[in-house]
């Protein structure tokens, strides 16, 4: 299965559920995955949430929510190296509207954290809606055991992530030379401590070892602008494609990454 096929199937499943159900029945039969396209970030998000019956399908009153967008690179939003800031702001707003106690946002960045948080504009936009946007603090990575891991038996994971009531994973769909495209699982590297470079050889096994133990409650893939070449850091506007798409699922849809990986071998 290649990326195109994978995306098509996802789209089909999503579209199918939307067509099949009328809004009243949706609550009874929530879809596995929803694919929406052709709108602005806020519209995409609300459309996708509607088909799950609203954000309260995932977030309850009084929850401490961790949102994990990609803030990894010192790039402005139009370079599509970081998650769309409007999308992040909208989901923060939705969480608070449904009664979340606190929304925390952080990422272990690749470039200088101050630069990334600022240049991605995620800090500014998310704080406007009351999210706590924090730099990762080294002392908060705690050893986390992975009893079923094939290669890794333990890895440091960020404390706030483990302690959160609900986790929303918000990757941006980007090109990456190693797996062609990176989505949800690669994005979770932002909560991993230690020498992350070490994960990169025999990547697919190692990332599975860790991610299968720290699954998020909801994954929202930002496909508003995607990076089609020169990922994951990008930096060239010619490599950015405006696709105005969003994929949402309570399961880490992006486990498709393993499929792409095996394709490459």
């Amino acid at each position: 299965m290649d990326r195109r096929k994978f995306l098509k199937y996802t789209a089909a499943v999503g579209a199918g559920t939307i067509i099949w159900g009328n809004p009243l029945q949706l609550r009874a039969a929530t879809p596995d995955v929803v694919w929406v396209s052709g709108g602005e970030p806020a519209d995409l998000l609300s459309a996708a949430l509607r088909s799950f019956g609203g954000i309260n399908a995932f977030i309850s009153r009084g929850d401490v929510v961790v949102i994990k967008p990609n803030i990894g690179w010192d790039r402005a939003p139009q370079f599509a190296a970081n998650t769309n800031p409007t999308l992040v702001a909208e989901i923060v707003k939705a969480c608070y509207e449904t009664g979340a106690k606190k929304v925390k946002i952080f990422d272990r960045t690749c470039n200088n954290p101050q630069r990334c948080y600022k240049n991605s504009t995620i800090q500014e936009t998310a704080e406007k809606y009351g999210a706590e946007v924090e730099h990762v603090r080294d002392f908060k990575f705690k050893k986390f055991s992975l009893p079923e891991g094939k290669l890794l038996k333990e890895w440091p994971i960020y404390q706030d992530y483990l302690e959160a009531d609900k986790v929303i994973n918000m990757p941006i769909a980007k090109h990456h030379s190693m797996s062609r495209v990176t989505l949800g699982m690669k994005n979770l590297m932002g909560v991993m401590g230690g020498n992350r470079g070490e994960i990169h050889n025999r990547f697919s096994t190692k990332i599975n070892d860790i991610c299968s133990r720290i699954l998020p409650g909801l994954t929202i893939i930002d496909g508003y602008r995607i990076l089609i070449r020169n990922g994951p850091s990008g930096g060239n506007l010619n490599d950015v494609k405006l696709t105005k798409t969003l994929v949402m699922s309570p399961c880490m849809v992006s486990s498709g990454i393993g499929t792409f990986q095996s394709q490459n071998k």
Binding site: D74, C110, N111, N112, P113, Q114, R115, K118, N119, E134, H135, R137, D138, F139, H176, S177, M178, N195, R196, G197, E198, H200, N201, R202, F203, N230, P232, S233, G234, G235, N236, N264, K265
Partner: protein, 523 residues
């Protein structure tokens, strides 16, 4: 007057520390942080020797030099942060009074000797005065020792507080505020800590011999200002009721009042601290200050013999500098920050203040104070050690902060296209080449719009006969700017499998046209 002087001293010290702390990302003050280093009176003099021209960039120093002619060494007594630090230190360690340290008087000529040798060497285009510049010393010690040490302790204490559950919520905001206002995001490692520590301990220990030992006997800036201060417009007058208690003499910071004659003042040594007026016993109150328009002359304590000796010492030093310590393995990896002048001019212009190293510590953290490794002159010059950090692609702050433009203030666009080196793979240890496993961490981080690290896909055959496609990275020379993020992020322990060398570096002699940037401006 002495109290007023103390207030001014403390204000200037805070001003310098404030500017030092502002020298970090985001660098958005309208007052450029390097302005305080341009207070250094030595800079315009040596700039003149180097370039046979004056630069208005050093207006604070030129102003001080001009005023010194009429006001004397007020810079040493009122402004110099190193002097203020020593004054505070003297109070702590109770430095001895002039009653016991008379024997050090004969050392006074050394500072003139250092100034002479430095001028002599500058004519031969060797910059040694930067090592002795008081403001550079202050910034250097603060950058390499004081600041990291205080950061270390404050961070440890805050983390300790955060671990106590009842303090946790109170400590985090403090920690975050501290982190974004004062600390660098992550603490730097500095390689030449030893020499800087030696300098710090040396200067502080010498205070046990006499107050302001450094200023009295070593500082070439003090020597220069002392020689200049011949037309001082006012003088200290000791009135007739003076009981000759010698208190002003024994407590003089600079020993500028001769032991035999309290009515005289050595204008070359006096730093206008006005302590003598304060020390004069209230029942006598015989010291006053008044304007005087026909000034008298004080000879600097510098004999012809000593002048010749320091000239000769300069010549010997010149010989030392010609001794080669470098071999190609180390010198070709001695990377300079982007925008550095060509190497010889760079060494001439750099005052070894390490302000660039300080501002880099809040960004990519590649800049380190240089060591003796390559040559004697390279001590405390900035060198980029990419394994410890990398040059942040969107950052040009080292050029903006450099007080003497030894690192030119390139615009971001020019800086991003100015290679400071070239990366090479060590295929013997690089994971894909050595183990036939994918890695590509270097390629992932490469920041150029068209990646300078590309890869071939080849089929590898394993011992059990199985085959697998593996991606083998390589560097494209034309695209690589030597930023070194590949070297820093390389997951191998110890030595990296990709490293940056000085090959292909681009040095600008002047700012490229259209790249002029206002001080403090930043994109």
């Amino acid at each position: 007057m002495a109290r007023f002087r103390r207030i001014v001293q403390i204000l200037f010290l805070f001003f310098f520390i404030f500017l030092f702390l502002r020298a970090r990302y985001p660098y958005e003050v309208n007052l450029s942080s390097d302005v305080f280093l341009r207070f250094s009176p030595l800079i315009p003099v040596f700039y003149l020797i180097d370039n046979l021209s004056l630069s208005l960039m050093f207006w604070p120093a030129l102003l001080i030099l001009f005023l010194t002619i009429f006001l004397g060494r007020f810079f040493c007594g009122w402004i110099c942060p190193l002097g203020t630090t020593l004054d505070i230190w003297d109070r702590i360690i109770k430095a001895p009074s002039n009653r016991t340290n008379g024997k050090w008087l004969k050392m006074r000529w050394v500072k003139f000797g250092i100034l002479t040798s430095a001028i002599f060497l500058a004519i031969f285009s060797y910059n040694v005065w930067g090592f002795f510049d008081p403001l550079a010393i202050f910034t250097r010690i603060t950058t390499v020792i004081i600041y990291p040490v205080s950061t270390f302790f404050s961070e440890k204490i805050l983390v300790l507080g955060a671990n106590l559950s009842f303090l946790e919520s109170a400590v985090y905001p403090v920690y975050d505020g501290f982190k974004s206002m004062i600390m660098p995001e992550s603490q730097s490692f500095y390689q030449s800590v030893f020499w800087t520590l030696l300098l710090l301990v040396g200067i502080l220990t010498l205070e046990k011999l006499s107050r302001r030992f450094w200023c009295r006997n070593v500082c070439p800036a003090g020597a220069l200002l002392g020689i200049l201060s011949q037309f001082r417009l006012y003088e200290r007058v000791v009135g007739d009721p003076c009981p000759v208690c010698n208190r002003c003499q024994t407590d003089c910071k600079m020993n500028a009042i001769p032991a035999g004659n309290v009515k005289e003042t050595n204008k070359v040594e006096c730093i206008e601290c006005f302590n003598c007026g304060e020390k004069c016993p209230p029942e006598a109150k015989s010291i006053t200050f008044r304007l005087r328009l026909n000034p008298y002359h004080t000879q600097p304590d510098f004999l012809r013999r000593q002048f010749l000796a320091s000239g000769a010492a300069g010549l010997v030093t010149l010989g030392f500098f010609s001794v080669g310590l470098s071999h190609k393995t180390s010198s070709d990896r001695f990377l300079r920050p982007p925008g550095s002048l060509p190497e010889n001019e760079f060494l001439d212009r750099c005052i070894r203040c390490l302000e660039c190293v300080r501002i880099c510590s809040s960004n990519g953290r590649c800049l380190q104070p240089g060591d003796f490794g390559v040559s004697l002159l390279n001590l405390w010059t900035p060198v980029a050690i990419m394994r410890e950090g990398y040059c942040e692609y969107n950052c040009n702050l080292c050029g903006l902060i450099c007080p003497t433009d030894a690192i030119l203030p390139l615009t971001l666009e020019v800086k991003q296209k100015t290679p400071i080196g070239l990366a090479y793979f060590d295929k013997n240890i690089c994971i894909p080449y050595e183990r036939n496993e994918d890695c590509l961490v270097c390629e992932e981080h490469c920041p150029t719009p068209d990646k300078a690290i590309k890869f071939d896909v080849k089929e590898a055959v394993f011992s059990d006969g199985s085959r697998k496609k593996v991606k083998y990275p390589y560097v494209v020379r034309e695209l690589c700017i030597g930023c070194g993020i590949c070297e820093e992020k390389c997951p191998l322990p110890g030595a990296p499998a990709i490293y940056v060398t000085r090959t292909n570096e681009k040095r600008w002699e002047t700012l490229p046209a259209g790249a002029q940037l206002k001080a403090g401006a930043q994109s």
